[in-house]
Subunit: 600 residues, 2 copies
Amino acid sequence: MPGSRRVYAECPAHGLRVPFREILLHPSANEPNLAVYDASGPYTDAAASIDIKAGLARPREAWVRARRDVEDYAGRAVKPEDNGYVSPASLVTPFPVRHRPLRAKAGRAVTQMAYARAGIITPEMEYVAIRENGLRERMGALIRDGEDFGASIPDIVTPEFVRDEVARGRAVIPANINHGELEPMAIGRNFLVKINANIGNSAVTSSVADEVDKMVWAIRWGADTVMDLSTGRNIHNIRDWIVRNSPVPIGTVPIYQALEKVGGIAEDLTWEVFRDTLIEQAEQGVDYFTIHAGVRLAHVPLTANRVTGIVSRGGSIMAKWCLAHHRESFLYERFEDICAIMREYDVTFSLGDGLRPGSIADANDAAQFAELETLGELTRIAWQHDCQVIIEGPGHVPMHKIKANMDKQLAICGEAPFYTLGPLTTDIAPGYDHITSGIGAAMIGWFGTAMLCYVTPKEHLGLPNRDDVKTGVITYKIAAHAADLAKGHPLARAWDDALSRARFEFRWQDQFNLALDPETATAFHDETLPKEAHKVAHFCSMCGPKFCSMKISQEISADMREAARQADIARQAEIAQQQGMDQMAERFRAGGGQIYRAAE
Amino acid sequence: MPGSRRVYAECPAHGLRVPFREILLHPSANEPNLAVYDASGPYTDAAASIDIKAGLARPREAWVRARRDVEDYAGRAVKPEDNGYVSPASLVTPFPVRHRPLRAKAGRAVTQMAYARAGIITPEMEYVAIRENGLRERMGALIRDGEDFGASIPDIVTPEFVRDEVARGRAVIPANINHGELEPMAIGRNFLVKINANIGNSAVTSSVADEVDKMVWAIRWGADTVMDLSTGRNIHNIRDWIVRNSPVPIGTVPIYQALEKVGGIAEDLTWEVFRDTLIEQAEQGVDYFTIHAGVRLAHVPLTANRVTGIVSRGGSIMAKWCLAHHRESFLYERFEDICAIMREYDVTFSLGDGLRPGSIADANDAAQFAELETLGELTRIAWQHDCQVIIEGPGHVPMHKIKANMDKQLAICGEAPFYTLGPLTTDIAPGYDHITSGIGAAMIGWFGTAMLCYVTPKEHLGLPNRDDVKTGVITYKIAAHAADLAKGHPLARAWDDALSRARFEFRWQDQFNLALDPETATAFHDETLPKEAHKVAHFCSMCGPKFCSMKISQEISADMREAARQADIARQAEIAQQQGMDQMAERFRAGGGQIYRAAE
């Protein structure tokens, strides 16, 4: 990032190096540089050498092995169906390095929740505690001013606080023991609001290079986790490339690959195929799985009168399966078997909302809330198995129905982290659904959602390209930060205030560097005022020099400001009306007609 | 607009033709075309001939003259300072046609409020009543489902309802008697939420052709009013070109031109210069004036500890004037003299928020609310003079502080329409402030704001170009519509539902045409699936054919759907567990494995 440098908070005792992005301010700012947490990985570290064929370094493997509750093993052999029976000519090159997979020793749960409940503070918990604190020892007093609707955001995040949140299921650290490249990320209502970016090829378009590039690109702009939603061929191999190069948690929807394995025929899905797919992906190191176990046979008829039926891919697949067999969903019936796999690798459940509304008309309907009740039931079961759980949420919801989603989710799912897609607050703007949904995302984030799944401008229309990914990520960083601000997160205000001070003091370069997207801010400014001199100008092209309110504000001298404050002369003058006014005015004019002190 | 045609609701008795945009649906939709109100003027009427040198037709002049309470007169001669003493070589050509200005006969108030209070329903009121009803006689039953926080939105807008709202000051129809080209627009909490687009040259850049083009462009995409914020030279002449070609209300900030007239020296402003400017612009036909009469001398010290001081241009000018002279603002002291001018032409007050917060840090502070109290006091005075009033609002406000703004404004200003700039919900995203502010705009619109002033991506960075204007307008149409939906406006849901039905039934062309921006929606779709055949395909490039949830949903046959609904067999099956299940499943398979009926 222009105007930023990578710094690390070191914790040698635990072998941790937690990256931050330090935004460099001009010396005239007379304040410390601003540090923000940085999930972009080694890609933005000038000192790091990157070789995507080797993958990232795997410092976390040592943390996992040090716990002595895992074993490596041969692992599952890659099968032709894993890559969709792709022809040898079209096969994506397998990732060049193969790490023997790890799994829990028999009977052990190797989840962060299990450790947390046992009172153990893991390096992963230490790591996220440092990350969540944002180098605050450098910052001055922090302003907490917000409405958090009953959240419990601490002033300082201690490792013990993280442990407690994970133990009670109020936060997760998606961290598959086979994702040695991972820089752990906390997701929970009492931490900074996180965002997810979806990538993935489809049967219609995209390649492996595109997808790895999109992952790196998404985290560069601020994605905290990435979901690989690939559905075409080669998905096993593409996934390997992504996980081995990803410092952020990777999520998938295993039912997509399972469906590929049975030739796209939903009715042909079986528990055995699905189970095999879970193990395949768990061995690869996927950190969280979307599992649509809440779509029960009895729920499907509730969607019959909907305007847009079932819009979740996983949900529609399972609905079709249930009806075709007239049986309860095997995901529901086998849920405890799934838990047994999840705890063996510490894959976090992302309980999918297969019946989420796909239109304003269908928001908050019986189908949606019936599924949510089931997700609550499944959460309790997963927790019994020490599995970490997040709950997926809608979708399309008008503003007045958003809060009910949050309130119900908290009550029904025991405060397990909520993870929503938007929601979109209107259906009428395809091409701008990053915005229709950014509105809903900011609001539901404020109300307590822990992670916001981005929506790009291409939603409903096509597969996002690089520009769309960036726009989606920036929009969701805005929503997440607006939510943190409104919740009164102690770190949030400092960023806004630093930027606003830069703005008021015409430190243009600082303003650009502090922006979520310095490149765009700079380019927009330079479109009308391209010269370097204009980067120190006390005006911009919007108002020009004469009409700049900030310039006028600045012209108001410090003397007057001080005098006004101390003597409150303005009020006195008002009381005294015209009496003695000419004298006062004269004094002011003698001071140069300035009201505040000029910046420099 | 592609896929739309212009239609008119005729009211021959009053000589009214109210334009609508009829969005054409495919016959397979089996539902009526959707009509939406259309403020884009004759520019989008294929039958209209446009000559910007002649200006638009002036049907409204007859309505005004028919009231027999106005007189035409010679009008004020254009002075060199009106165009900023521009040299003859740089002078923008004066608008070729000069209409003799109208003013009220001595002692008469010619405002919509005066008529409303006298029990008179004007053609302007008839017009907006038709416009607000959106040809609803064509539509089926309308769904009202929202939270309106105490608004009084009627099922049908009658002219009498409009009259009553205007009489009590809860709505305005900005309609200068000299704006004969105007298609009247209602602004009030109980009408559809409106949006304003700002245009205008500055000392740094822009030309007259650009500005007229921007106005036409802004209304094409949905701006309901346009403010001309020009500050450079030629502003008198540019304004003439804009007003004579504008079907929507035009607003200005007269203090900008007054300041030009005194060479940009705030201290040199006088009541006489300002008064002369008001008359100059009132004669031109400007429909509403932003007047920063709420910035009182005593308020200025309240801004001393702010992070961003005073960010309103008008506010900073007046603050400087007050301090330089150590006198109460002449706008405040002369407020009744201003009212006397406003009522003579029916220029609506837009009481400016000169002390609005320019950063999250300054939101809802003492300066802001002190000014709001003054605006409430001035509202009551203006109403005593039968003047129409809207109240401007912030600015930069984090989400948790937005509702307090609305609640205070309603209480303090007697429900006069609120007109806010955003608010921006965070400061950290210059380059994306249409989004940071679109979030706040949607929320405050829901809470009761009547008109939302757009913010473009260039905010804080530069002057918006055509693309920025469009992006700003579309973003604010989203915010306004999301607000209407959440308020439960009876017209809002029909649009979302029509688009969602098109989406579910794979009527791609209908989906594009129903979008706020059909061009972008089409272009995004065609980026990955350009062929015409793909516009009838039952999938898109996001998921591909096999994974399209809507396709799967549609495959579920109508027979099953009906059976499921009637017998609730799914629930029965669940209760009966496996008993008789194979038979049920068989029956379903015999039906072709479909769950819903296929679309076509």
